[in-house]
């Protein structure tokens, strides 16, 4: 019984965490380079819609997944243009995207799918594949633990890759420097604008992937409420994880785990599902108060950078 619950718990965690993680990793890029991106929510939504629409059109989940990411990247480009080239207030631009992207997503959905704000269901053949599917008896412990969508594992690998990029490569070193002191980088001949553009577009791409994951794996269609708050949870995860990829991973796992607890507890119907739903958030606050404390925000975060000429 315990093992079964543990298996279900891990399964729930592995369901909730990956899209969050993808978006959080994207947010890391943006924030570390000094650009606040609260438009992650919108970028996830457009990724979710485009991913689903693409899958319905071409039937290939991987193409759909990537195109969903590209849709997010497009809005990332918009955000970059506003914040880097036009030195707009980054919070305002992010807010604008949170209106534009979801609005556009539902608008396009209604336009393409006969006025319905939901897409039709994506056929299982067009969904992202599961690894270890069918190897273990359905509903057994190992099936629950290991039979997850391949992208879930990919996202874990991505954490390691991004960690490597941040702390071992030239690009990562410059990216971190730009987030702390863009003026210093400018005097050293580093192109601050270009670096920030890349990071913000990447954050859009990853957020789009996160959204597409949800419609191509977890929920097999796009509905307007399929992305509701995950973007902000991703941002919270990044702050909680002190702007580090490994920290974001831990935070996302924590959120995923709490959600898993919520799913389990709800099914057992002991306490009100609403009270249980509060758990992840209360846990986060308690964890912050007791353990984590202040996060060192990149020094140049949120401030537009202008080259003097």
């Amino acid at each position: 019984m315990f093992l079964r619950n543990l298996g279900l718990l891990i399964n729930a965690t592995m369901t909730y965490t990956p899209p969050l993680l993808l978006a959080a990793l994207g947010s890391c890029f943006s924030e570390r380079s000094g650009v606040v991106n609260i438009g992650i929510e919108g970028m996830m939504t457009i990724g979710a819609f485009v991913g689903a629409a693409m899958a319905l059109t071409c039937g290939n989940p991987w193409i759909a997944f990537l195109v969903g990411g590209l849709a997010g990247a497009l809005f990332g480009l918009l955000h970059a243009m506003a914040c880097v080239s036009f030195q707009a207030d980054q919070t305002i631009s992010g807010t604008a995207i949170n209106f534009l992207a979801p609005g556009l997503a539902v608008f396009l959905c209604k336009a393409i799918y006969d006025g319905s704000s939901d897409t039709p269901a994506v056929d299982i053949s067009a969904k992202l594949p599961k690894v270890f599917d069918g190897i273990f008896p359905v509903g057994s412990f190992w099936d629950n633990v290991l039979s997850n969508y391949s992208v879930a594992y990919l996202s874990l690998v991505l954490v390691a890759v991004i960690w490597f990029v941040f702390y071992k490569t030239r690009f990562g070193m410059r990216l971190r420097a730009v987030g702390e002191s863009p003026e210093a980088c400018d005097t050293l001949g580093i192109n601050v604008y270009r670096l920030r553009y890349i990071c913000v577009i990447l954050s859009g791409f990853l957020a789009g992937l996160g959204g597409a994951y949800i419609t191509l794996a977890t929920v097999s269609q796009f509905r307007p409420i399929v992305i509701v708050g995950q973007g902000f949870m991703a941002i919270s995860a990044v702050i909680f994880g002190k702007f580090k990829p490994q920290g974001a991973l831990l935070a996302c796992l924590l959120f995923g785990f709490c959600n898993g607890v919520k799913v389990l507890a709800t099914s057992s119907n002991v306490v009100s599902p609403n009270l249980i739903s509060m758990i992840p958030y209360i846990v986060t606050i308690l964890a912050l108060v007791l353990f984590v404390g202040t996060a060192r925000v990149p020094a140049a975060n949120g401030k537009p950078f202008q080259k003097a000429k």
Partner: protein, 371 residues
């Protein structure tokens, strides 16, 4: 003689160029243009859609009234965000404060039995206290433990959301006989206009919650511009170090500002409940009251009086948007237009600089190119 005339003409012109209003209006225009392009591309007549928006809001007196009723809570949420902006804090928690404010007003509105004269203010006060408290917790965490308020606000938004759903389902509170909502608030707690003669003209949905919003805006404007409290808050928002140097306790002022912000958002929720909704429904997803507030604050240039107009504009758009399905236009076009407007407001200062330098050059050339 002509010098004086030129002077006044120049100063009026420069005032327009230097202020924010022009660029806000330009952004609104661009928003509508972009919306029109999208509608046409989707095969929907922009003229028809926009026409429906206009008639949907201004067609009948009771429509106008409804739009205003719609706008009032949004004005208050906008005030909430605008006010906390002044101290340099981004109130992304307006959502949660709004929800707990609504809850508090609902409980008082359902269970307390007093005449309307007392009931309405009582509910408003309960809402303000709830919202203020909700925000103050985050403020304390920020000030005492250095916890990032963006993170805390988001957490508390979610907690409020589930709290509301939980309360809705408490048997004593739950609506009798099915329906996912609380009981209706007592008539003494509503803000509906009761005079029958007025109801004939304005429709049965008319409520006076707009007055609460406008009065709040005026009070907030007064606080910011004419009181020592406003002075302190702005000093802290602009330059915390100098403020402390001047003897201002910046932590205390931040907490004060955040609490007042929360109270305003809470009152927004109460206005919605008492002026329109009459009951709280079970949420299936977050309603984005908070984001509406952020939009209003931005369009209103974080100026309290500006929030009134921005709130009316947004309220009208939202209300008109609900009627768009009648002409087969998706109501999401309103979101897209709003998003575009905000986006252009964000980059407005670029145009401001361009226009100002263009005007400056013209003036120099006009005076014989002297420098």
């Amino acid at each position: 003689m002509s010098n004086a005339k030129e002077k006044t003409k120049n100063s009026f012109g420069t005032k327009i160029l230097h202020g924010n209003l022009l660029y806000t209006l330009i952004s609104i225009l661009v928003g509508f243009v972009v919306g029109a392009i999208l509608l046409q591309a989707a095969g929907i007549s922009a003229g028809e859609a926009y026409g429906k928006l206009v008639t949907g809001v201004f067609g009948k007196p009771k429509f106008i009234v409804w739009a205003i009723v719609y706008a009032s809570p949004i004005i208050l949420t906008g005030l909430s965000v605008a006010f906390s902006f002044q101290t340099g804090v981004f109130n992304i928690g307006a959502e949660g404060q709004y929800v707990v404010g609504t809850l508090a007003a609902c409980i008082v509105g359902v269970f307390v039995k007093v005449p309307a004269v007392i009931h309405v203010p009582l509910c408003l006060i309960a809402a303000a206290l709830a919202g203020g408290l909700w925000s103050m917790i985050v403020a304390v965490l920020k000030v005492k433990r250095g916890i990032n308020e963006v993170l805390s606000f988001i957490m508390f938004n979610w907690i409020a959301y589930y709290l509301s759903n939980y309360v809705v389902n408490i048997p004593a509170v739950h609506k009798e006989g099915g329906g996912e909502a609380t009981k209706d608030i007592l008539e003494s707690a509503t803000m509906l206009i009761r005079s029958e003669s007025l109801q004939e003209v304005l429709g049965s949905g008319a409520s006076y919650n707009i007055f609460v919003a406008v009065i709040a805006a005026v009070v907030i404007a007064f606080i910011l511009n004419r009181t020592t409290l406003g002075y302190k808050l702005k000093a802290v928002g602009f330059n915390r170090h100098a403020a402390e140097y001047g003897g201002i306790n910046s932590n205390r002022e931040i907490m004060t500002a955040m609490s007042i912000s929360g109270a305003l958002a809470g009152m927004g929720g109460a206005c919605q409940l008492m002026g329109m909704g009459m009951r709280i429904s079970q949420f299936s997803s977050q309603e984005s009251f908070g984001f509406q507030g952020i939009t209003v604050a931005l369009i209103g240039s974080t100026n309290p009086i500006g929030c009134i107009f921005a709130g009316l504009f947004y309220g009208a758009m939202k209300y008109g948007g609900t009627k768009l399905s009648l002409v087969n236009a998706p109501s999401e076009i309103v979101d897209i237009i709003m998003g575009t407007i905000i986006f252009f407001i964000a980059i407005a200062h670029v145009f401001k600089r361009l226009l100002l330098s263009y005007a400056g050059n013209k003036k120099a050339k006009g005076e014989g190119g002297a420098k």
